[in-house]
Symmetry: C2
Subunit: 120 residues, 2 copies
């Protein structure tokens, strides 16, 4: 898959609630995921598809999502794209409502996502 195809499939997966299934298809086995800040207390950076799957599981377990939108991808050259995410909902444990917007930047090499970085 080329950059555009990967970017479009990542966006489609997020919109159609199959982001986790897409990890196998779109991500390199040792892909790195980097948060803006160390919000979880486990460090900003995680490596590997399994660790990234674990982040998805944690997110889904801890949050109740009431609305979400995922932008079309914005490309940069041959090896990167950005996506804007908007999510509304509440934190299950505290009931605290959130309405957040963040930017994800994805790095592609050899037809796979090798790095994702979140800005917020």
């Amino acid at each position: 898959m080329d950059l555009k195809e990967i970017a479009n499939e990542l966006v489609a997966g997020c919109r159609e609630d199959r982001a986790k299934e897409n990890l196998e298809k779109l991500y390199a086995p040792d892909a790195v995921s980097v948060e803006a800040v160390d919000y979880s207390g486990m460090g900003r950076e995680m490596q590997g598809r399994e660790a990234i799957r674990g982040k998805h599981d944690w997110w889904e377990g801890a949050h109740e999502v009431s609305g979400a939108s995922v932008s079309d991808p914005f490309v940069h050259g041959e090896d990167r794209f950005a996506v804007i995410f908007e999510v509304q909902g509440k934190v299950k444990e505290t009931g605290e409502a959130f309405d957040m917007r963040e930017v994800g930047v994805y790095h592609v090499a050899d037809g796979k996502i090798v790095r994702e970085e979140f800005f917020y």
Copy 2:
């Protein structure tokens, strides 16, 4: 200035139409500006504050802007931030209308912006 201060001032400058004045204040002399694609035919990458100023001049000369919005900054770690730009207007030469959204990613080192990258 720290990352947050630089990011906030860059956004304020864009909103208040003083982005060019901010080049001196916020950018390193040899800062690099990278477009998503080579839309101008002069290559994707330009180096130096003067070259970046030239890009601003070219943009202003070639486009008639009817509306614009600039997001608050989204930070990533200690050295990067992203900004979402929305601009509506028309190309002066052709009269063609545009309504575009793009993401800018800014890299900061030693208190100055050293690289900006545009995604669209």
